[in-house]
């Protein structure tokens, strides 16, 4: 079932695209290209590609996606195979089973998630690690034999 919800309601303003989200229900399977200007939650099954520039895509715990995804933020809680290109953040929750490539600015992964991934993050300028003070707990093998 496809549902559209509005989390922001203001009758005096032009209909904002922000805050709208479409839900693809558990019983729905789609094969093809999905493009949109709003947030999308997938609880069903999708095969193809998903383009949601500047919006948030969520693959719910029951969602099954085999697709290339381009969105601003992506949250994966279900099963997904494919490549993700996110303008901002990718979030992988503990229920997720992900197989593919991820390109993003940031990523968060919960313990328990299954991940087979190639990850490229926007890299910060190289920071030189501050020299560590002499470790107290450490004994090297050579020291130990003395």
């Amino acid at each position: 079932m496809l549902r559209k919800t509005k989390s922001v309601e203001n009758n005096n303003m032009p209909a904002p695209s922000m805050g709208e989200k479409t839900i693809i229900g558990e019983q729905i399977s789609i094969e093809g290209c999905i493009q949109g200007k709003g947030d999308l939650v997938i609880d069903g099954s999708i095969k193809g590609s998903i383009e949601l520039e500047e919006h948030h895509l969520t693959v719910g715990p029951k969602g099954q996606v085999e697709a290339d995804i381009h969105a601003d933020n992506v949250t994966i809680s279900g099963r997904m195979t494919g490549n993700i290109k996110a303008g901002c953040k990718v979030e992988i929750t503990k229920e997720a089973d992900f197989n593919g490539e991820i390109k993003a600015k940031r990523i968060s992964v919960e313990d328990g998630a299954y991940l087979k991934a190639a990850i490229e993050l926007e890299r910060e300028p190289q920071k030189k690690a501050a020299p560590e003070r002499e470790p107290l707990t450490l004994v090297s093998e050579t020291d130990k034999s003395k």
Partner: protein
């Protein structure tokens, strides 16, 4: 090699010492990667968000394949080991570094041999492997992830969803199992944790 039947100890002082330590091998591993520009690294888990961020910001591409979770799933489903190794299907010489963590502790000698064969194939010449082996006094009650903090400090975080056997080994046994690689550095910590840095010639 001995399979542990050790029960969790209840000495809080010891537990707090075990819970975190500053890792010299991690520092050497990172420095080694920084010398190899545009490096590519494989992390075999357990998956940990902060470690992914730590390495993904330092290398060209980070590959994650959570072998701990796959081993656990395999055990629960009573499947053969070779079904696990087929997930490490990367082309030869794909990586400049491999984060082995304490995976060796969770495998018997035969399976470690199979893993080392795969690693030897996947690692580029001069590539490095970071491994951790727990000692007698550090036998864990659960599989841990080694969460990277500031100053190369590693925090052990129990992964209670993983249930894997533990194989206790002497240093010489570990070195013999990883013989295809050249040992570069090894350290023993007071908490019983041993760390190894290996290199492929």
């Amino acid at each position: 090699m001995a399979i542990s039947t050790h029960q969790p100890w209840e000495d809080p002082a010891f537990e707090s010492e075990l819970a975190s330590y500053t890792s010299n091998v991690l520092r050497l591993f990172v420095e080694g990667l920084e010398r190899r520009q545009e490096g590519e690294v494989l992390d075999v888990g357990p998956v940990c968000g902060s470690n992914i961020t730590f390495f993904a910001q330092r290398v060209k591409k980070l590959y994650v394949c959570d072998m701990f979770l796959l081993l656990d799933r395999n055990r629960r489903n009573g499947l053969a080991f070779n079904r696990v190794w087929q997930h490490l299907d990367y082309p030869p010489q794909s990586f400049d570094g491999i984060l082995l963590w304490d995976l060796v502790d969770r495998l018997d000698d035969t399976e470690v041999g199979r893993l080392v064969e795969l690693y030897e194939n996947m690692l580029r010449p001069g590539g490095i492997v970071m491994g951790i082996v727990l000692g007698k006094q550090a036998i864990p009650q659960a599989v841990n992830s080694f969460v990277i903090g500031d100053g190369f400090r590693l925090y052990l975080r129990p992964q209670h969803h993983l249930n894997l056997p533990f194989y206790l080994r002497q240093n010489r046994e570990v070195l013999a199992l990883l013989a295809p690689f050249r040992p570069v550095k090894s350290f023993i910590y007071r908490n019983g944790i041993r760390e190894f840095l290996f290199q492929r010639d």
